[in-house]
């Protein structure tokens, strides 16, 4: 084995992978290619199949059907302990009867690495996670964040070509989580290994990832960079799960290659056309919406009327929830200091047709958002 080549990271291919528990399909035809050295995040609500996918890659769960290749080789049927994949668990899973040093040395012992070489690699891994001074402690004597860093060192000490992380920061508080996110990013850069990261936190996914695969109900809704998911969501679910959004529904009419939607009696031009038919729904990002006092000019933009339902001061600006006439809510982010509205104010909601995302309606998108 050439450690240099290994360190470039392994590619992963899932082709039509399914996992069924009786009648319940935990994974339903998942296909995904992860490039060598890539930081891929599997994002989705609980029960969406992201952790099952991780378990399938790690070898903790057998697939019902489909192909799975790690480093261009099929690993279907290969037991977990022969896959040489590092895994970091949400609950650390450090061995309580071993010191930090022995925990980190464990995978090396299993691989027959001995003496000074083992010592050196344990030091190196602990240095990398900044835990070099804690080698003689037991896990019970460490804080949650420290334990997770040791777990990370243990998962990378044997230079696996692939590192899987299952909500590793889920049990930690916000400040620590943000700091460790940056640490994980740094370690990914230094190692060059392929990282697969599972989380339900879309902000975390945006901070960390090269690309994100959004899971829903055992299937992938969309794969793309954070920007692609935010700017060009392929489905209503992705639009709602990644970032804040306003969703508007109404009867649609298509004329001259452009779809217009009627919202509480007002025709809204979208400058878009729903490609594959179906019932369309409009999705708008908060920063693409503007608020104005009633009667102000609209510069050719679409205009809907509403009333401020909630006003939240964020420091860098304000966030408003606007109750529209048809009962739906719009979320607006305003960075204009001069402009401020109070709860109950009548307002006009302005937006350009070109900023509207037109997506196929999907009633399941609401149900799964919990």
């Amino acid at each position: 084995m050439n450690p240099k080549a290994q360190n470039r990271g392994a590619a992963i291919d899932l082709e039509q992978v399914s996992k069924a528990y009786g009648a319940f399909k935990a994974l339903d035809g998942v296909s995904l290619r992860i490039e060598p050295g890539e930081f891929m995040t599997l994002l989705g609500p609980s029960g969406s199949g992201k952790t099952t996918t991780l378990n399938v890659i790690a070898g903790f769960t057998d697939v019902t059907s489909g192909k799975l290749l790690v480093g261009e080789k099929s690993v279907v049927g290969v037991p977990a302990h022969k896959r040489n994949i590092g895994v970091v668990f949400q609950h650390y899973a450090l061995f309580p009867h071993m010191t930090v040093d022995r925990n980190v040395a464990y995978p090396l012992r299993l691989r027959g690495v001995t003496g000074a070489e083992r010592e050196r690699r344990v030091r190196h891994a602990l240095d990398m996670v900044k835990m070099a001074d804690f080698g003689h402690r037991y896990p019970s004597e460490l804080s949650g964040g420290q334990q997770q860093r040791v777990a990370l060192a243990r998962a990378i000490v044997f230079d696996p070509p692939l590192l899987l992380m299952d909500e590793p920061l889920g049990a930690l508080d916000k400040k620590l989580r943000e700091w460790l996110q940056l640490e994980i990013k740094r370690i990914h850069r230094e190692l060059g290994t392929t990282f697969v990261y599972v989380t339900h936190d879309q902000e975390e996914a945006l901070v960390l990832s090269d690309r994100i695969a959004v899971f829903n109900r055992g299937a992938i809704e969309q794969i793309g960079t954070g920007r692609e998911l935010y700017d060009e969501p392929a489905t209503l679910f992705v639009g709602k799960f990644v970032g804040d959004s306003t969703v508007l529904r109404g009867p649609a009419a298509t004329s001259g290659g452009e779809t217009a939607i009627e919202i509480s009696g007002q025709k809204v031009a979208t400058a878009k056309r729903l490609a594959n038919g179906g019932k369309p729904v409009m999705l708008l990002r908060p920063e693409k919406l503007a608020l104005a006092r009633p009667g102000a000019g609209n510069d050719g933009r679409n205009r809907l009327t509403g009333r401020i339902g909630e006003a939240i001061y964020l420091g860098s600006g304000s966030k408003y929830e606007v109750d529209l006439a048809d009962g739906s809510k719009a979320i607006v982010r305003s960075t204009l200091e001069a402009q401020s509205f109070a709860i109950g104010d009548e307002v006009d909601l302005l937006f350009a047709g070109s900023d509207v995302k037109l997506l196929a309606d999907d009633d399941k998108a609401d149900l799964t958002l919990t």
């Binding site: 070898g59 903790f60 037991p79 977990a80 302990h81 464990y106 299993l110």
Partner: protein, 265 residues
């Protein structure tokens, strides 16, 4: 719950009596063992070591003691291995078969001793196992098994199975995982199972009374015979020795445990 002072005193008094009732029979053998007369009448007369001497020199006593030691040691090992394996298996089964099998394996605890004893005696007569080491070991192992099962199962219940998944991800196969992760973490349960198994065998009397013969007697059988035959204070000496031995063992164990815990922190 707050209590009136009178209730409090009454409660304390009742509990003191219960405590004495529990402990006194354990201690009463001590003065009797130094009796000068061959009698178990109270109070004992004079002071002498003769019954301890008798225990060591009389082959009836010393041999039965060694037999018990031999049987109990083998039983402890066999029952612990079988019980630990079984507890591990039950832990990994689906709930329904596991509960059924567990109930089955705990039956030796509730089957009335004499019923079991005549059954085993009947079978042993046919298979020539009466008065053999193998016969004692088999019978005692089955009686000790439930205790090992309970002790190890209790430990497995609180054992975090995710650690095994972690070990697998680090490259350990099932056997290595068991040896390096699971076993060290359930060791307290296994150890107490071992002790229970030893004690169960060392103390077993009902089945032993049936499957014994003049060539192979265990200590409880010898004690029983001695009590029913005559008032021999050697029994009291044996009781005192056992009391001291267990006290030393348990006290030593606690001390060791306490030191280990201190060392770890």
């Amino acid at each position: 719950m707050e209590m009136k002072p009178l209730t409090r005193v009454m409660l304390g008094l009742v509990c003191l009596l219960v405590a004495i009732w529990l402990v006194a029979p354990t201690l009463v053998v001590v003065p009797m063992s130094f009796n000068e007369n061959k009698s178990l009448a109270f109070p004992p007369q004079g002071f002498s070591w003769q019954w301890y001497e008798n225990f060591v020199t009389n082959p009836d006593w010393s041999n039965s003691f060694l037999n018990s030691l031999k049987v109990a040691s083998i039983v402890a090992v066999v029952a612990t291995v079988l019980g630990t394996l079984a507890a591990f298996g039950l832990d990994r089964m689906k709930a329904r078969p596991a509960n059924l099998l567990r109930m089955l394996m705990l039956t030796p605890m509730v089957v009335p001793g004499v019923v079991l004893a005549i059954g085993i005696y009947a079978v042993y007569l046919d298979t020539r196992l009466v008065g053999t080491l193998l016969g004692f070991v088999l019978a005692h192992t089955i009686l000790a098994l439930p205790f090992v099962l309970i002790a190890v199962s209790a430990n497995l219940e609180v054992f975090d199975k995710r650690l095994e998944t972690a070990a697998a991800s680090l490259g350990a196969n099932a056997l290595t995982t068991f040896r390096t992760v699971t076993l060290p973490l359930i060791a307290p349960g296994v150890m107490s199972g071992l002790l229970f198994a030893f004690a169960t065998s060392f103390d077993e009397i009902v089945v032993s009374l049936f499957i014994t013969n003049p060539y192979l007697k265990t200590l409880p059988v010898q004690i029983f015979a001695s009590i029913t035959r005559d008032a021999d204070p050697t029994v009291a000496a044996v009781g005192t020795i056992l009391l001291c031995a267990t006290t030393l063992l348990i006290g030593g164990g606690m001390l060791l445990l306490g030191r280990e815990r201190k060392g770890a922190s």
